[in-house]
């Protein structure tokens, strides 16, 4: 229900705009979402034949595959999922690939330490045993992501690109608070549809900062955090042993222990522990910090020595190349 023909809250702050460049940088709240935009966007060309075959032309929302897809996120698939759910009544709908995860981070004396496990699950199956959950945002900031794998990767990639542009434009290293605000703006704009649970940590001129951003756009600034399905296990370790101004080696061990608690106590987390230590001087991206103790070594050698396959005959045909034309074009370089 809408009063006085007003648009949604999210669209109040301006027309939808994919580039975050303008308002977010100057502190103006720029949370925008056109409530009807997702209905107007078309699905991309590949989905059309699948959908048509499933529903025999039932989907009238789709535009012709000859038109290029509109920019930005398309939420057509939420409608498809609803229709699929009705069709496959009783059986559960397909789930997206999630990083059932343990990620954690803490502030220590000289900076921040971020930690993550490396297991990505798709339902009951481990889809990736060595996935990277700590994403580089800029030279001084890294972000761990839990939730839907595609969403965390894309959101952090977009953030990194926009901050790189900002750095080039303003000749400044970005502040951690700025990155957190941009993430909050983006995720709020999409009303929880982007399943990204993020831990953002970094060091800027004002010190070391650690933020956590939820998928609906809520931000918390804390000295230690954990997210993901293993977050409760990790938080127990952090709550017990965290102290302000710890030394770097002690902090690395604490974060490793917290991720390990998630790996042992949560089915969705496992494999190795990655760490990222960010200080004002340098970044130490340790992948892996600890390898899984439970992988089986290979029992046999799978490399075949040269000569295993018998060589029966050999024929060499040289390719004769002719020089047809030669042209020199000068580039303007000064």
């Amino acid at each position: 229900m809408q009063l006085n023909g007003c648009r949604s809250f999210r669209s109040m702050l301006g027309s939808p705009d994919i580039s975050l460049a303008n308002n977010a940088y100057w502190g103006i709240p720029s949370r925008r979402w056109d409530a009807n935009a997702w209905k107007r966007q078309s699905s991309s060309a590949e989905q059309l034949p699948v959908l048509m075959s499933l529903f025999g032309g039932e989907m009238s929302l789709l535009r012709s595959p000859l038109q290029p897809p509109s920019p930005g996120f398309s939420f057509d698939l939420t409608e498809r999922n609803a229709v699929l759910g009705r069709l496959l009544e009783g059986s559960p709908p397909p789930r997206p690939v999630k990083t059932g995860t343990t990620i954690s981070g803490m502030v220590f004396r000289d900076g921040v330490v971020l930690g993550a496990d490396t297991r990505a699950t798709s339902g009951d199956v481990v889809a990736d045993k060595m996935c990277a959950k700590i994403h580089r945002i800029s030279a001084n900031m890294y972000c761990c992501g839990a939730g839907t794998a595609a969403d965390t990767q894309k959101t952090t990639d977009l953030l990194a690109s926009n901050l790189a542009l900002f750095s080039l434009n303003s000749q400044r290293a970005p502040r951690v608070l700025m990155a957190a605000s941009i993430l909050q703006d983006t995720l709020y704009r999409y009303g929880g549809q982007i399943g990204a649970h993020l831990i953002l940590g970094g060091v800027d001129y004002s010190g070391a900062h650690l933020y956590t951003v939820g998928p609906y756009g809520s931000v918390d600034k804390l000295p230690f955090v954990s997210m993901g399905s293993g977050s409760m296990a990790a938080l127990g370790i952090l709550e017990d042993r965290y102290k302000p101004n710890m030394e770097v080696e002690e902090a690395k061990v604490l974060v490793r222990d917290s991720v390990q608690a998630g790996i042992m106590g949560d089915l969705g987390s496992g494999s190795n522990v990655d760490l990222c230590v960010i200080t004002a001087q340098a970044v130490d991206y340790i992948r892996p910090y600890q390898e899984s103790q439970y992988t089986n070594g290979r029992n046999r050698k799978y490399k075949y020595p040269p000569g295993t396959t018998a060589l029966l005959s050999e024929k060499v045909v040289p390719l004769r190349m002719e020089l047809v034309t030669e042209a020199v074009q000068r580039m303007e370089t000064h």
Binding site: N4, L13, I28, H197, G214, S218, D220
Partner: protein
């Protein structure tokens, strides 16, 4: 964990299941809040300060959906900045409350957050405004959040008009402590902000500093 619905934390929106209070006294206001932020059954942040500044001497207390409440507070903060620059002086508490009310009313179907606005200005002294569901009313005291239901009676009985600064601070802390001990969605530490003509004082009461009552 690997059942089909996925773990609760994936789908639950982060809410500030809360207790928030604002009380006027002679010459200013005292705002108080707990510090618990929950997502379903788990606590996401146990030390969140829900008293958010809108201007130098105007604060608001957040409750409901954490994302919506933070967004409204930041939006009104920006709008008040522009307004006070245009005026050339500090804005009235009533103006801040009106801006919050405008957003809460116009988008009431989409937002689920309730903000209480309290502050001091030269014209009206200490004032408290409630903006639940988009109404705007000035009250001597206002309560909000899930924990408020447990302490309406206490505050009704104990509030005295014309009380002093320390008495009002003690009243707010006592009320918060009672609510936090009865409401599962409120807890942690108690934040207090006292605003008067001389400035703003922020205080934190850690768990063991909170007053205890009958069975504690």
């Amino acid at each position: 964990m690997l059942e089909e619905q996925g773990p609760e934390w994936m789908s639950e929106e982060v809410k500030t299941g809360t207790t928030i209070i604002a009380v006027e006294f002679d010459g200013g206001v005292v705002l108080g809040s707990d510090s618990r932020v929950s997502a379903g059954a788990s606590v996401v942040n146990r030390v969140m300060n829900k008293l958010s500044p809108l201007h130098d001497r105007i604060y608001c207390a957040l409750s409901g959906s954490a994302a919506d409440a933070q967004t409204i507070a930041e939006t009104v903060n920006y709008q008040l900045d522009v307004h006070s620059m245009e005026l050339g002086e500090d804005p009235l508490v009533c103006s801040a409350a009106t801006l919050v009310k405008n957003i809460s009313y116009q988008y009431k179907e989409e937002l689920s957050a309730h903000l209480i606005v309290g502050g001091w200005d030269r014209r009206g002294g200490g004032q408290v405004y409630a903006t639940l569901s988009g109404l705007l009313t000035r009250q001597p005291f206002a309560l909000g959040g899930s924990g408020s239901s447990y302490v309406y009676g206490y505050l009704d009985a104990e509030y005295r008009a014309g009380a002093g600064r320390t008495d009002t601070q003690r009243l707010v802390v006592d009320t918060l402590s009672l609510a936090m001990s009865r409401d599962g969605s409120s807890g942690g530490v108690a934040y207090l902000v006292t605003i008067d003509g001389d400035g703003v004082e922020e205080k934190v009461f850690l768990g063991n500093e909170l007053p205890t009552f009958y069975d504690q």
